[in-house]
């Protein structure tokens, strides 16, 4: 598998030989086994695989939630230290999979959105909060609501708002619609697509749903058992041009339900 030929100056995120092991001794499992890929600035890159293949681990490692790994991670061509600094977190943010677990149950939405602004020293918090709530389609009246009063789709919008309120350059998306109803998924995917266009954010998305990933992303990598099996463009996926047998299986399974129209 050849990494895409993105010129160095345009790379925003890169992994080189990333290896993550959990547990120790006899009980250790290798979650990520020597993964290398790069993402260009402004690109939407997708990582697809079944559960347990290591894709979420890669995302969490890049985010800085997994501290022990081998290999290097580069952000804007500079190697990242194990303990990330504040600047990294201002420029890279994440949207989690489960909308029912990613918002603090006891905090009003205003407080949830004001906190990152306060930590990073942004001015005009009130205006920014209103703006981001409008941008995700909720409106500023939602400032005073609590998570348990919101539906799954609304909660996910808040999670997106929280990630975007400090204006990051890279958004890491961990299966953002897999915990949502199919009917709500379309709204969230549309929102993500339009936000990316408006704000010129780089997306790195992880999913097990090929249709969702091809809708949002430009380029994808297929993962299985800790390794990247194949990288391809979304055009290749739609044309069914898979080289590796695993990719072919995945494509078949995803096209499995003959659409009703």
């Amino acid at each position: 598998m050849t990494p895409s030929q993105t010129p160095t100056k345009d790379r925003i995120l890169e992994t080189v030989g990333l290896r993550v092991t959990f547990g120790s001794g006899l009980l250790s499992t290798v979650a990520v086994d020597g993964v290398s890929f790069m993402i260009g600035r402004g690109e939407a890159f997708g990582l697809i695989g079944e559960s347990g293949c290591g894709k979420s681990t890669i995302l969490r490692t890049i985010a800085g939630l997994v501290q022990s790994y081998d290999g290097s991670l580069l952000f804007a061509n500079k190697e990242l230290p194990r303990k990330r600094d504040k600047d990294f977190f201002r420029r890279v943010q994440m949207v989690f999979q489960d909308p029912y677990g990613s918002l603090h149950p006891r905090k009003m939405l205003e407080s949830v959105l004001a906190e990152p602004l306060a930590i990073h020293g942004f001015d005009n918090p009130r205006k920014r909060i209103d703006a981001v709530l409008e941008a995700v389609g909720l409106g500023s009246a939602f400032r005073f609501r609590y998570p348990h009063e919101l539906s799954g789709g609304q909660r996910q919008r808040v999670a997106i708002a929280r990630a975007l309120v400090i204006e990051p350059e890279v958004l890491l998306l961990d299966e953002p619609t897999s915990a949502l109803d199919v009917s709500v998924q379309a709204e969230i995917l549309n929102l993500l697509k339009s936000l990316r266009r408006e704000r010129r954010v780089t997306y790195f998305m992880v999913s097990h749903d090929l249709a969702v990933i091809t809708h949002l992303c430009d380029r994808i990598a297929v993962m299985s058992e800790g390794r990247i099996v194949e990288e391809m463009t979304v055009a290749d996926v739609r044309a069914g041009r898979a080289r590796e047998p695993y990719t072919r299986t995945l494509l078949e399974a995803s096209a499995g339900y003959v659409p009703a129209s």
């Binding site: 079944e50 199919v182 009917s183 379309a186 549309n190 249709a211 659409p259």
Partner: protein, 287 residues
């Protein structure tokens, strides 16, 4: 057409809560014969509550009323709790979404299947064990003797769900209610589980009520589809006629999914028309 297994006429399920009465299911009517019927809807549409109301497993504080709720001649709402206990598991069983939560985490999976069997029959332990092994083989588990001794957290999602199916079908119920049985599973595993469910249901001539939010999945798998929204059934249509669905909500659900073969710039978001909440049910031709 043979006598339907389940007849539901004007079913209502409501909850008394802090902010007044919530009507989760509002006067729905349908029948299920020895066929696979899918109930599709978003969360809050009332589909899960419908399944639970049939088995009277709704949460405390729920009020169920219906003009008729009849299973094989038995009026389910008039049945006493001991009568319902005889029905649950033996004549009507329910498969839930996530085996992580529906299997007892402290008991070996084989033992749970055995227990399910012995609760309703007078089988000896050895007999029950043999039946359980046979069921594990029927759900295509390759090493039943090994899997029998495993604990739920030691099995993968797909295998856990197949174990759930084994447990729920060992008593050969006439009606199976499956509430999002594949939503927690990977895409490749989903297919396997559905194939197994299909085989077992057809072979035994049982009826299946398949509750899901995934309309495409239901369309491929079921014989008939009921589309629910806001506690009502909007459309009742044979699965093969789904592409000619008439109700705008059904059409919108079908159109809102991202498709590999048809890229779109923006997905069609289902627009919800409040008129649907009290509108009529569109019933397609029966099979």
């Amino acid at each position: 057409m043979a006598e339907p297994l389940l007849q539901v006429d004007d079913l209502n399920v409501s909850f008394r809560g802090g902010r007044g009465v919530t009507r989760a299911v509002r006067g729905i009517s349908f029948t299920i014969g020895r066929e696979k019927v899918g109930i599709v809807g978003e969360s809050g549409s009332g589909k899960s509550q419908t399944g639970r109301a049939i088995l009277r497993l709704t949460p405390k504080g729920a009020e169920i009323t219906a003009k008729a709720l009849v299973f094989d001649g038995i009026h389910l709402l008039a049945a006493t709790e001991p009568q319902m206990r005889k029905i649950r598991g033996k004549r009507i069983s329910m498969i839930l979404q996530d085996p992580k939560f529906s299997l007892n985490p402290l008991m070996r999976v084989g033992q749970q299947i055995v227990e399910a069997y012995r609760v309703h029959t007078r089988a000896s332990r050895a007999e029950a064990r043999d039946r359980a092994m046979a069921m594990l083989e029927a759900v295509k588990i390759r090493n039943p003797a090994r899997v029998f001794e495993l604990l739920p957290h030691e099995v993968s999602g797909g295998m856990g769900q197949r174990i759930m199916i084994a447990m729920m079908l060992i008593l050969e119920p006439d009606l199976i209610i499956a509430d999002e049985p594949t939503s927690a599973l990977d895409v490749t595993v989903r297919r396997q589980v559905l194939i197994i469910l299909d085989e077992l249901v057809s072979r035994r001539g049982a009826g299946l009520m398949f509750i899901s939010h995934d309309v495409n999945l239901v369309a491929e798998f079921c014989d008939r589809v009921l589309v629910m929204y806001g506690g009502r059934i909007l459309e009742d249509i044979p699965a093969r006629e789904l592409k000619h669905a008439q109700h705008p909500y059904t059409r919108a659900l079908l159109d809102s999914l991202p498709r590999l073969d048809r890229p779109v710039e923006m997905l069609a978001v289902p627009q919800r028309d409040p008129a649907w909440l009290d509108g009529p049910t569109i019933r397609g031709s029966s099979a």
